[in-house]
C-alpha cells in the first residue's frame, strides 16, 4: 500500500519534471518562431507572445540575399553530412568486422592504436590538416569535409561492441563453408545484422557533421560552398545585417527547420533505432 502511494507520488513528480524539461526545449523554438514573423520595427518595441505578419516578407528577404546563400548552404550541408554519414558507418563497420572476425599479428596493436586516438580532438591536427589539403589541391572544396570521416574511432568503438554482443563467429564460419567470399559475407550477412547499430551511428554522424563548424570554417573559402554553420557564424559578426533582426531570426529558422522536420517525420524510427543500438551495445 505504502509503496503504491510512493509510486503514484513518483509518477506525479516524473510528469512535472518532464513537462518542465519539455517546456525548456520548446520554449526557445517558440520565441524563435514568433520573432521570425515580426518586422524589425516591431521587434524594437519589445517582445510579444503572439506571432506577427511578416513571416513571408522575412522569408523572401532571406532567400533573396545572395550574400548569405542559406538555401545553398542547406544543400551543401546535406551533401556533406549525408556522404559523411554513409562512408563513416560503412567503413567503421568494415574496420570493426576486420578486427573482430580475423586473427592477425597486428590485431592487438591496431585495436590499441584506435582506442588511443579515440579522444584526440580533431582540432589538434587542424593546422597541419589545412596545410595538407592545400597542397593536395582540395582547399575550398567539400571533399576534405567528407573523406576523413572514414576514420572515426568513436563509431568504430560502438560498432565493435555491437559485433561482440550480436555476431557469433560461427555464422561467419558457416558462410565460408557455403563458399561465400569474404566481402560477400560482410556485405550480405554481417551488414544486415549490424543495421541497427549502423542506423544509430548514421544519425549521430549526420548530426555531428551537420553541426560541425570548426573544420569547414577553416577549409571553405567561397560563398557557394559554405555550409549552414559557417553562414550562421557570419551572421553573428555581420553588423550591417543586424539592422534587420527579423531577417536574422528567419535565417536561424531556415537553418534548423529542415532537420527538425525530417526528425519529426522520422522520430519514431530514429528513437527506435537509437534504442535498438543501445540494447546490444
Amino acid at each position: 500500500m505504502k509503496s503504491k502511494e510512493y509510486n503514484s507520488f513518483r509518477t506525479v513528480f516524473a510528469h512535472v519534471l518532464l513537462v518542465i524539461l519539455s517546456f525548456m526545449c520548446l520554449f526557445f523554438f517558440y520565441i524563435l518562431f514568433v520573432n521570425s514573423t515580426r518586422s524589425h520595427a516591431d521587434l524594437q518595441k519589445g517582445f510579444s507572445a503572439l506571432p506577427g505578419s511578416y513571416f513571408f516578407t522575412n522569408l523572401t528577404n532571406v532567400t533573396n540575399d545572395g550574400t548569405f546563400p542559406m538555401v545553398r548552404g542547406i544543400v551543401n550541408s546535406l551533401i556533406v553530412s549525408g556522404c559523411s554519414a554513409a562512408i563513416c558507418i560503412y567503413f567503421s563497420a568494415l574496420t570493426a568486422y576486420g578486427l573482430y572476425a580475423y586473427d592477425f599479428k597486428a590485431k592487438k596493436v591496431a585495436f590499441t592504436f584506435i582506442m588511443a586516438i579515440l579522444v584526440m580532438p580533431t582540432q589538434v591536427t587542424a593546422m597541419g590538416f589545412l596545410r595538407l589539403i592545400t597542397k593536395m589541391g582540395m582547399y575550398d572544396s567539400l571533399l576534405p569535409l567528407i573523406i576523413p570521416s572514414i576514420a572515426s574511432p568513436a563509431v568504430f568503438y560502438f560498432m565493435y561492441s555491437y559485433l561482440q554482443s550480436s555476431l557469433p563467429l560461427s555464422l561467419v564460419e558457416a558462410a565460408r563453408i557455403d563458399g561465400s567470399k569474404e566481402f560477400r559475407t560482410f556485405n550480405q550477412i554481417v551488414l544486415p545484422i549490424m543495421k541497427p547499430a549502423m542506423a544509430v551511428q548514421a544519425i549521430f554522424t549526420f548530426v555531428g557533421s551537420w553541426n560541425n563548424y570548426f573544420v569547414p570554417a577553416l577549409v571553405i573559402q567561397s560563398k557557394d560552398k559554405m555550409t549552414v554553420p559557417i553562414l550562421i557564424a557570419l551572421l553573428r559578426g555581420a553588423d550591417y545585417l543586424n539592422r534587420d533582426m527579423g531577417k536574422i531570426y528567419m535565417m536561424i529558422m531556415v537553418a534548423i527547420v529542415p532537420i527538425v522536420l525530417v526528425y519529426l517525420f522520422l522520430s519514431k524510427y530514429i528513437i527506435a533505432g537509437v534504442t535498438l543500438g543501445g540494447v546490444k551495445g
Partner: protein, 481 residues
C-alpha cells in the same frame, strides 16, 4: 521483427538521402561551368560592340569586387552608369558591354573579411583572369595594411591613369593623405569623408531643455565640461546622455598624438587619450550618464537604444551612421532626431576603394573609381539621396548653404551645416596597420573594467594578452606615465 523492419527503413532512408546528396554534388561542380558559359556569351556581345570600344575587348569578363558590406555595392550601382542590371540576390551585376561584376561580400567583424581578402590577394598571381581580385574595399582602421608600398597589393592610382593632383583635386586633403603609402603615392580613393556630429532626440531635448533648436542644444554640447552639466540635467529627468562608453571612444581615439605603432617599430604605445577615455568613461558610467543595459556597439542592445522605447538622448555619428544605423533602427515617425556639434570634432571611419595589383580589368576599374570618387555630379547625388557626406569640397560647401539637402529624418534640418565645418577642422590621428586590432581589443579589455567585472590593472593585463595573441610580432606594450 518489426524493429528490424523499422531500422531497415531508416537505413534505406538515410542511404537514399545520401545518394541524392552525392548526386547533386555533380550539380555543384557544374555550376561554375554554367557561369563560364554565360561569360562566353558576354564576350560575344562585347566583341560585337568591339568596334566602338576597342580598348576594352582584351579585358577580362569578370570584375571581382571584395567588400565588407552592401554599402559599396549600393553606391557603385547608383553611380556607375555602365551597369545595366543587378541580380535579385545582389551577387552579380551586368555591364552594358557584357562584363560582369561579381560582388564578394564578407563581414568585417572577427577579421573574416580581411582573411578572405588576404587569401585572395596572396593567390592573385596564380589565379585565372576571371578569379583575380580587381577592386577591394578597406576601412580607415586597416587601410595602412593594404597601401604599404613594400607589399604592393594596391596599384598606385597613377598606374591606372588617374592623376590625384588633377582628377581628385576636389577631395578633402586628409582623405588623400591617409590613402597614400609611406612614399606619398596615393593608392586608394574614397567617396566619403566622415566628420562626426552629435545626433539627439528632439522630444527629449524639448522635455528637458525646453527647446530642440540645434543651435541652442549645440551650446550645451560644445565641450566636455559643459557636456557633463548637460548630462546631469538629463539624468535628473531620467534620461541617459549616451548609450555606452564605446560611443565616445572615437572622439578620444581620433585626437591621439602618435600612432598606436610607429612605422618600423614593434612597440604599441597606448596614448594618454585612451587612458583619458577610460577614466572619463568610468566617471560617466558611475554617475549614471550611460545606459547600463548597453555594452559596446554593433549589438542588438545598442540598436535597440536607437529606438523610440529607449531613454538615450544622443549618439555620436558621422553621416554614414545616421543613414545606415539610425534610420533602420528608428521605429517612430521621421523627424524625431536632429544634429548638432559634438564636444570635440572627430572623424570616424571611411570606406576606401583600391585597385588590386594584377587586375585584368584596369580600364573598368579606373572608370569605377572615377565615377564613384571624383565625379561631382555623382557625389552630389549620393549626398542628396543617401545623406552621405561626400568627398568633394566644393559640393559640401554648397550643400551647407543649400536647403534642398535638408533631411526628413532630421525633421527638415540641413545636417551639412554641422558636417562641413567639422570636415575642415579634421586633424587625422596618425594611422598604423594595427589600428583595427588595437581599437577592438582596447574596447574589449576595458569594457570588462567599465562593467565592474575586473580592476584596472587586470584590464591592462588582458589587453596585453589579447594583443600578443593577435600580433605575435609585437614585442612590447607601453603605457603612459
Amino acid at each position: 521483427m518489426k524493429k528490424k523492419l523499422l531500422s531497415a527503413v531508416l537505413v534505406s532512408a538515410m542511404l537514399a538521402g545520401t545518394l541524392a546528396g552525392c548526386g547533386s554534388g555533380g550539380g555543384v561542380n557544374s555550376t561554375p561551368t554554367d557561369n563560364g558559359g554565360s561569360a562566353d556569351t558576354g564576350s560575344d556581345v562585347s566583341a560585337d560592340g568591339g568596334a566602338s570600344e576597342a580598348a576594352q575587348t582584351d579585358e577580362g569578363q569578370v570584375i571581382n569586387i571584395y567588400s565588407f558590406n552592401d554599402e559599396l555595392r549600393n553606391r557603385i550601382t547608383a553611380v556607375y552608369s555602365a551597369i545595366e542590371n543587378t541580380s535579385d540576390d545582389g551577387t552579380v551585376s551586368t555591364l552594358n558591354d557584357g562584363t560582369e561584376i561579381h560582388w564578394i561580400i564578407n563581414p568585417n567583424q572577427d577579421g573574416v573579411y580581411q582573411d578572405k581578402l588576404d587569401e585572395a590577394l596572396n593567390g592573385q598571381a596564380s589565379a585565372s583572369a576571371d578569379d583575380k581580385v580587381d577592386i577591394f574595399a578597406a576601412e580607415l582602421d586597416y587601410i595602412v595594411k593594404y597601401t604599404d608600398a613594400d607589399i604592393n597589393v594596391a596599384m598606385p592610382l597613377e598606374s591606372l591613369g588617374i592623376n590625384p593632383d588633377t582628377d581628385l583635386a576636389d577631395q578633402f586633403d586628409f582623405t588623400k593623405t591617409v590613402a597614400s603609402d609611406q612614399n606619398g603615392v596615393q593608392r586608394a580613393s574614397t567617396w566619403q569623408a566622415c566628420p562626426g556630429v552629435l545626433v539627439y532626440r528632439r522630444d527629449i531635448a524639448k522635455e528637458v531643455f525646453g527647446t530642440d533648436d540645434p543651435e541652442e542644444i549645440g551650446k550645451k554640447t560644445k565641450d566636455w565640461d559643459v557636456m557633463k552639466e548637460t548630462a546631469e540635467e538629463l539624468k535628473a529627468a531620467g534620461y541617459y546622455t549616451f548609450s555606452s562608453y564605446a560611443d565616445t571612444f572615437r572622439l578620444y581615439n581620433n585626437s591621439m598624438a602618435d600612432a598606436w605603432v610607429s612605422p618600423g617599430e614593434t612597440t604599441i604605445k597606448v596614448d594618454q587619450k585612451i587612458i583619458d577615455w577610460v577614466t572619463d568613461s568610468k566617471e560617466w558610467k558611475d554617475a549614471g550618464y550611460f545606459d547600463p543595459a548597453v555594452k559596446g556597439q554593433w549589438n542588438s542592445d545598442w540598436f535597440t537604444a536607437m529606438s523610440s522605447s529607449a531613454k538615450v538622448f544622443a549618439f555620436l555619428f558621422p553621416a554614414w551612421g545616421i543613414d545606415t544605423q539610425m534610420v533602420p533602427n528608428w521605429d517612430g515617425e521621421a523627424g524625431a532626431w536632429a544634429v548638432t556639434n559634438a564636444p570635440l570634432s572627430y572623424n570616424w571611419g571611411g570606406t576606401f576603394v583600391l585597385a588590386a595589383e594584377g587586375t585584368d580589368n584596369p580600364s573598368h576599374v579606373k572608370d569605377i573609381i572615377l565615377a564613384l570618387t571624383a565625379d561631382t555630379d555623382n557625389l552630389t547625388m549620393i549626398s542628396k539621396e543617401y545623406a552621405d557626406f561626400t568627398n568633394a569640397k566644393s559640393v559640401m560647401q554648397a550643400a551647407a548653404a543649400d536647403d534642398s539637402f535638408a533631411s526628413d529624418f532630421l525633421g527638415g534640418q540641413n545636417p551639412y551645416v554641422y558636417f562641413t565645418p567639422g570636415a575642415d577642422s579634421i586633424k587625422m590621428a596618425p594611422l598604423s596597420a594595427y589600428d583595427q586590432g588595437c581599437v577592438e581589443l582596447v574596447q574589449n579589455a576595458f569594457g570588462d573594467y567599465l562593467q565592474d567585472q575586473i580592476d584596472y590593472n587586470k584590464a591592462k593585463e588582458n589587453f596585453e594578452t589579447a594583443i600578443r595573441e593577435r600580433y605575435p610580432e609585437i614585442t612590447q606594450i607601453q603605457w603612459p606615465e
